[in-house]
């Protein structure tokens, strides 16, 4: 059990010394993407090879979270603790492990797998949320502490009042990373000001947007940072209990979080009287069950209570009627992961990144017809062209960029001629899309935009909870109408009806799922109307 900052530093120092015992490290990415390419086996083989070659005293092999360039997995980074030099190897398979160990032994880099770390993909990123991802061992709380972890929590509990924490978060301008972009500080303040015996902090890890895996990477690579952020929220708002709601489809994230909570409990970083202050905070993981709608705040809360994930009408908002009817703060994983760096470095530092109205960075998952699929963290306000070309490497050769879809089923398609757009909450909204959780799906000229719209509509249809009529029936009807366009059997009346239904479903549905379900259709009509016209039969 540790109760003071000194004890925390002690652990950090001890671990750092331990880390420095070995001059070099081979860091194997064990994020889900690399994992599915056999990263676990590679880690094991590397350990064996390193031992066989008798270099285990100078080179440690460890598993780390996602470093982002998923398209080039399995990634192994060779790090020199003294010089701070790093060589990144990509596309490592089980056959390459001994070669790699040999390269370490002989100090000659394995050129054929060496990744160019000076290219845009790495150079243009700014890692705040993911600063530890790819560096620390997510299974080891001491490694997190050695990298400065839990210092923010201990210092805050010792020296700052809850209101000071909230004021820092407010000044930082941090906005909810789940998609809506509501100012986090304001949300916390509302709950903090409510006079209630019980309050809850809930973390939304039910990342359900197809094409989005930012939150998973954070939970898998750096679970303690989420935990620390939640504990700080608990302190700021006066809540003693928190829940992390994670998709059951993310078993690795669940495992890492549970392990991390256990370790934190053991060290007294979670539990009663943390850091010898009067602050108690308990944390539990709850599993989702494959229902996208549970990403909606009221549905998520009712799901934690053990019910069908049907949303309810807002207001009342969670801040006065949340989990078990108590005031509740609900933030997304990435939002909580931003708290620690803000408190460590100050609101002004944070405002140094991003734009005035959307400070900080955003993690995006680049997927689709793009060269560098993977996870990237960039300052808000970056031009779309930089994101797609400089970082993403553009579309495959011989193809042309057609559209960029952001915001998942709630978002919209941005046409290729709007590449100058500076990406933040407000600019995306202005062009009819939205930030969403950060999935960026790139489509080239081989895609039919009506089909893209239909894909998302069908998604909403099968994820509709069925509670309210416009969403339940409207998404089905609209999927059917879109089919008519795809089969070139639509009429002009169908086109009018489609537009009218978009309006009704958007304005009259009960929750965010239904209210945003028409967005992919609306934005494709706005920018690619001719593709709809092509679907209208002659006569």
């Amino acid at each position: 059990m540790i109760t003071t900052l000194e004890e925390l530093e002690e652990i950090a120092n001890k671990k750092q010394c331990e880390n420095n015992e070995c001059r070099e490290e081979l860091r194997v990415c064990i994020g889900s993407s690399c994992l599915s390419l056999g990263a676990k086996e590679i880690e094991k083989d590397l350990k064996k090879s390193v031992k066989d070659r008798g270099i285990e005293h100078r080179c440690r092999v460890k598993g780390v979270g996602c470093n982002g360039l998923c398209a080039a997995g399995v990634l192994v980074s060779h790090y020199d603790n003294e010089s701070g030099e790093e060589v990144l190897y990509e596309k490592i398979t089980e056959e390459d492990t001994d070669k790699l160990a040999k390269a370490v032994e002989s100090q000659k880099p394995l050129e054929e797998h060496r990744s160019d770390m000076s290219r845009g993909f790495f150079a243009k990123q700014k890692k705040i949320v993911l600063e530890n991802a790819g560096y620390i061992d997510p299974d080891d709380i001491e490694d997190y502490i050695a990298h400065g972890g839990y210092r923010a929590l201990f210092t805050t509990l010792n020296d700052a009042t809850p209101m000071e924490v909230i004021s820092q978060i407010k000044q930082s301008g941090l906005r909810g990373r789940g998609g809506g972009g509501y100012p986090t500080g304001l949300k916390w303040e509302t709950v903090a000001k409510v006079d209630a015996e019980k309050k809850y902090i809930v973390c939304n890890g039910d990342e359900g947007d197809p094409g989005a895996f930012m939150d998973r990477a954070i939970m898998e690579a750096d679970p303690h940072r989420v935990i620390e952020g939640m504990a700080l929220a608990g302190y700021a708002c006066g809540a003693a209990k928190g829940y992390i709601y994670v998709r059951a489809e993310y078993p690795t994230a669940v495992e890492k979080l549970n392990k991390a909570i256990k370790q934190a409990n053991r060290l007294g970083i979670l539990g009663n009287k943390i850091a010898d202050s009067g602050f108690d905070f308990e944390l539990e993981v709850r599993l989702g069950g494959g229902a996208f709608v549970c990403g909606e705040a009221t549905a998520l809360v009712t799901s934690i209570e053990g019910n069908r994930g049907n949303p309810r009408q807002k207001p009342p908002h969670l801040s006065d009627h949340g989990l078990w009817g108590e005031p509740t703060v609900l933030n997304n994983v990435e939002t909580f992961a931003n708290i620690v760096p803000i408190l460590n470095n100050g609101a002004q530092w944070y405002r140094g990144f991003g734009t005035e109205k959307s400070p900080g960075t955003k993690v995006f998952a680049l997927t689709g017809h793009i060269e560098n699929t993977g996870l990237v963290e960039v300052p808000m306000g970056m031009k779309l062209s930089e994101l797609i070309y400089d970082i993403g490497g553009g579309v495959s050769e011989g193809r042309n960029l057609k559209a960029i879809q952001t915001g998942g089923p709630s978002g919209g398609c941005i046409p290729a001629d709007m590449l100058d757009l500076e990406v933040d909450y407000d600019s995306l909204k202005k062009v009819g899309s939205m930030m969403g959780s950060g999935g960026v799906i790139v489509t080239d000229d081989s895609s039919n935009m009506v089909e893209v719209a239909r894909f998302f509509m069908e998604f909403c249809k099968s994820e509709s909870c069925g509670k309210c009529v416009p969403c339940r029936v409207g998404t089905t009807e609209m999927t059917d109408i879109l089919d008519k366009f795809i089969n070139k059997e639509a009429t002009k009346e169908d086109f009018e009806l489609l537009k009218e239904m978009c309006e009704v479903v958007k304005e009259s549905s009960l929750c965010g799922l239904g209210q945003t379900a028409p967005n992919p259709v609306l934005s494709t009509i706005k920018y690619f109307e001719e593709e709809y016209i092509k679907g209208i039969k002659d006569d």
Partner: protein, 240 residues
């Protein structure tokens, strides 16, 4: 829990000044002032779910439409219940309800005594604006006194609520989700085999359409006791 003092709030509905207890809903205050707002899933005496979206109203200054049954009143708010926009939305939503399942009014036990049918008259909806979806569900006529025809169900969940909140049996609940959602007994067991059902028949009486009916009645003969629940709750409160 947050405790709020009960006060009175003053606001406007359709330009008329109204007052209500601060914890009231827009619908409650409208009713007290004889302002009619169409409703379908709402039933006095049961909890409000805001599912059918027929009672949507406009609030000045907000682009969002709010269901009157769950929307709490606010001091100084201006509510509109009868605008062109609302008419358009309500009509489309009602079309969707009619198109979702197979409401063949002419051969329905509730023909002439059906709240869905009445709503089509009230909203002036004489044809469905959206194509009919064809979705067949099996009828459960296993119970000796009642029939459940999911093809006529609009998923208002009044039966689920009355069984849980008034009868206390919770024999009904929803199964599956989205368009496949149905109301079921226990583990989707035939009605007659339900361990939890008390056969009290309240669900039948509150069902707005012909989905739940009594056996032995033919087309147009099923008349339901609408005020049953309110009377029941009043009687209970009187005993205390």
């Amino acid at each position: 829990m947050i405790k709020q003092k009960v006060r009175v709030k003053t606001f406007q509905i359709n330009g008329i000044d109204v007052t209500g207890r601060s914890d009231s809903t827009i619908l409650e205050v409208a009713k007290e002032h004889d302002i009619h707002i169409p409703t379908l899933c709402y039933l006095e005496g049961l909890s409000c779910v805001g599912a059918c979206r027929i009672c949507l109203v406009e609030i000045k200054g907000s682009n969002k439409l709010i269901p009157a049954c769950t929307g709490k009143i606010k001091e100084g708010m201006e509510v509109f219940t009868d605008t062109d926009r609302l008419h358009k939305h309500r009509k489309m939503i009602l079309s969707m309800i009619f198109a979702e399942r197979t409401h063949t009014c002419s051969v329905c036990v509730s023909n002439g005594h059906c709240e869905l049918q009445d709503m089509s008259v009230e909203l002036g909806m004489e044809h469905s604006q959206v194509p009919y979806l064809t979705n067949r569900f099996d009828i459960d006529a296993s119970h000796e006194r009642f029939v459940n025809d999911p093809n006529r169900c609009i998923l208002c969940t009044r039966c689920v609520r009355v069984c849980d909140e008034v009868e206390g049996a919770h024999a009904w609940d929803l199964v599956d989700r989205g368009l496949d959602t149905r109301v079921i007994h226990d583990m989707d067991d035939p009605w007659v085999e339900s361990e939890s059902c008390t056969s009290c028949g309240k669900c039948v009486q509150v069902c707005p359409t012909g989905a739940l009916s009594e056996k032995g009645v033919s087309a147009t003969e099923m008349v339901k006791k609408k005020s049953l629940i309110v009377n029941l709750l009043e009687m209970r409160n009187r005993e205390r």
